[in-house]
C-alpha cells in the first residue's frame, strides 16, 4: 500500500504495561509504527491487551515503560503537555461517551470553542458540515438520550473530527451496538479511511478489517504475534494462534 512510503506519525518502542509489580503484563514489549494515512486494525482475543495498547497511544493508560513518539514528540516524557497533543488525537469509545447534559451541537462545539478558541459561529458551521456528512444534521438540537446507539456513535466520531485531529483512535466502536446499527457506523469509518484519515482501530469486525485496513496487527498475551496486510493475515495465516483465533471468529 502507498501508506508505506508516508512519514511515521506515531512510533511505539518496546511499550510495556504491568500491573501488580509485573505479575500481570497487559502489554509486553510492543514495537510498531503508524504511518500517515494508514488504517491500522488491531485484532485479538479478549484480554490480549489490544484496548490497553490503543489507550496507551493517548496516555489514557500510562505505560510502565517504553516510549511513544507522536509527530516527533515523546509523549511519555513528563515534560510533554499531553493535553495539547490529545487535541490532535481523536478517540472514539465503545460506549460513545457523549456528554448527556449537552445537545449534539454543544457536544461537538465544546472542545473547539474552549481549546482551539474558535468562535461559536465557526465551530457551529464546521459541526453542521460534519453532521451533514453523517446524515444527522436534523438532530443538531437533540440530546444524546434521544438518539439510537448507531447515531450516538456517528456523533461521537464527528465530535472527535471537530478538533481536526491528525489521527483517530477507535476502541471497539461497534461492540456496544445492536447488529443492525453496526453497518451505519462502519460506513462512516470507511468514508473516513477513504478520505485519507490516519486511523487505529481495535475491532472484532473482521469484514471491516479485511476491506478497509492497510495493515492488521494480531495481538495475544500483550504481544504482537502477527502483523501484515489483510491478505497475509486473513487468507494465508501461518501462525498457529492466529489460525485458532480466526477459526473462532470467521
Amino acid at each position: 500500500m502507498s501508506a508505506d512510503n508516508n512519514e511515521v506519525l506515531i512510533s511505539v518502542k518496546d511499550l510495556c504495561k504491568h500491573y501488580n509489580m509485573g505479575a500481570i503484563k497487559a502489554l509486553d514489549g510492543i514495537t510498531t509504527d503508524i504511518r500517515k494515512g494508514e488504517v491500522l486494525v488491531i485484532i485479538g482475543p479478549s484480554g490480549s491487551g489490544k484496548s490497553t495498547f490503543l489507550r496507551s497511544l493517548n496516555l489514557l493508560e500510562r505505560p510502565t515503560s517504553g516510549t511513544i513518539t507522536f509527530e516527533g514528540i515523546d509523549i511519555t516524557s513528563p515534560s510533554t503537555d499531553i493535553n495539547k497533543l490529545r487535541q490532535k488525537m481523536g478517540m472514539v469509545f465503545q460506549h460513545f461517551n457523549l456528554f448527556p447534559h449537552l445537545s449534539i451541537i454543544e457536544n461537538m462545539t465544546l472542545a473547539p470553542t474552549k481549546l482551539l478558541k474558535m468562535s461559536k459561529e465557526d465551530a457551529e458551521k464546521k459541526a453542521r458540515e460534519l453532521l451533514a456528512k453523517v446524515a444527522l444534521e436534523d438532530r443538531a438540537k437533540a440530546y444524546p438520550s434521544q438518539l439510537s446507539g448507531g447515531q450516538k456513535q456517528r456523533i461521537a466520531i464527528v465530535r472527535a473530527l471537530c478538533m481536526s485531529p491528525d489521527v483517530l483512535l477507535f476502541d471497539e466502536p461497534t461492540s456496544a451496538l445492536d447488529p443492525e446499527m453496526v453497518g451505519e457506523v462502519l460506513d462512516v469509518m470507511k468514508d473516513l479511511a477513504k478520505s485519507g484519515m490516519t486511523m487505529a482501530v481495535v475491532t472484532h469486525e473482521m469484514g471491516f478489517a479485511r476491506e478497509v485496513a492497510t495493515r492488521v496487527i494480531f495481538m495475544d498475551d500483550g504481544k504482537i504475534i502477527e502483523e501484515g496486510t489483510p491478505d497475509e493475515i486473513f487468507t494465508n495465516p501461518t501462525n498457529e494462534r492466529l489460525k485458532t483465533f480466526l477459526a473462532k471468529v470467521l
Binding site: N83, K84, Q87, F93, P100, A111, K114, Q146
Partner: protein
Amino acid sequence: MINMLSAGSRICLALPTWAQKIHDDFVLNFVNEDRYMYLVKGLLMTLEITFLAVILGVILGVIAAIIRSTHDKTIKDMRPGFGKVLLKILNIITNVYLTVIRGTPVVVQLMITYYIIFASSTNQVLVAVLAFGFNSGAYVAEIIRSGIMSIDNGQFEAGRSLGFNYIQTMVYIIIPQAFKNVLPALANEFIVLIKETSVSGYVGIMDLTRGGDVIRSRTFSAFMPLLAVAGIYLIIVIFFSKLVSVLERRLRNSER
C-alpha cells in the same frame, strides 16, 4: 388604648368566649405595638442569612469536593513532584475541615465564630453567614463528591481525550452532570439550613425564632408567637420544596 379596649368589648358581645380569647391573644401578640414586625423583620433576616450562607456553602463545598475526589481518583497515578505534595496537603486540610465541622454542633461553631474568631466585629450578620456557610460547605462537599463519583469514568476519559485538562474536564463535563444528580440532596441541605439558622439568637441576631421569642417575653404568652414562628418556617420549607421539584423536572426534561 381606651379606643382599643372599647373595640374589644364591643366584639365581645358577638363572639363566644373561646374565640374572644384567641382574638385577644392575637391582638396582644401581633397587633399591639406592631409586634408582628418582629416576625417580618426576623423572617427577612433568616432568609438573608440562609441565602448568603448557601452561596458560600456551595462555593466551599464544590472546592472541597473537587479536592477530595481529585485526590481519591488520581493520587495513585501521579508522578512525584510539587503537584502531588500540594494535592496531599490540600486533601489533609479539607479532611480536617470536614471532620471538625461535621463533628461539632453548629451552635457551638456559631458562638466560636462570634465570640472568639470575630470577637472584635460588630457585624453579626456577616459572622452568621460565615459560620453557617462554613458549616453548610462541609455537608455540601460530601453531597457534591458523591455526585462526582457517580459520573461514569467514560465521561472523564472522553473529556480528556478531546484535550481538556483535569480542571476543565471537571468544570465543563463532570460538575454540571454531578450537580444535576445531587440537586435534590442540595435542596434538602438548603432547607435544613433555613431551620438551622434558628440558633442565630445565641449571638444576638434578631432572626425569625428570636423575633417570636421577643414577642413571648414581652406579652408573657407563648402559644401564639411560637406557633406563628413554626407555621412560617413550615410554609417557607414547603414553598422551597415545591420550587425545587419544579426545577428538577425542568432539568430532567432538557435531556428528553
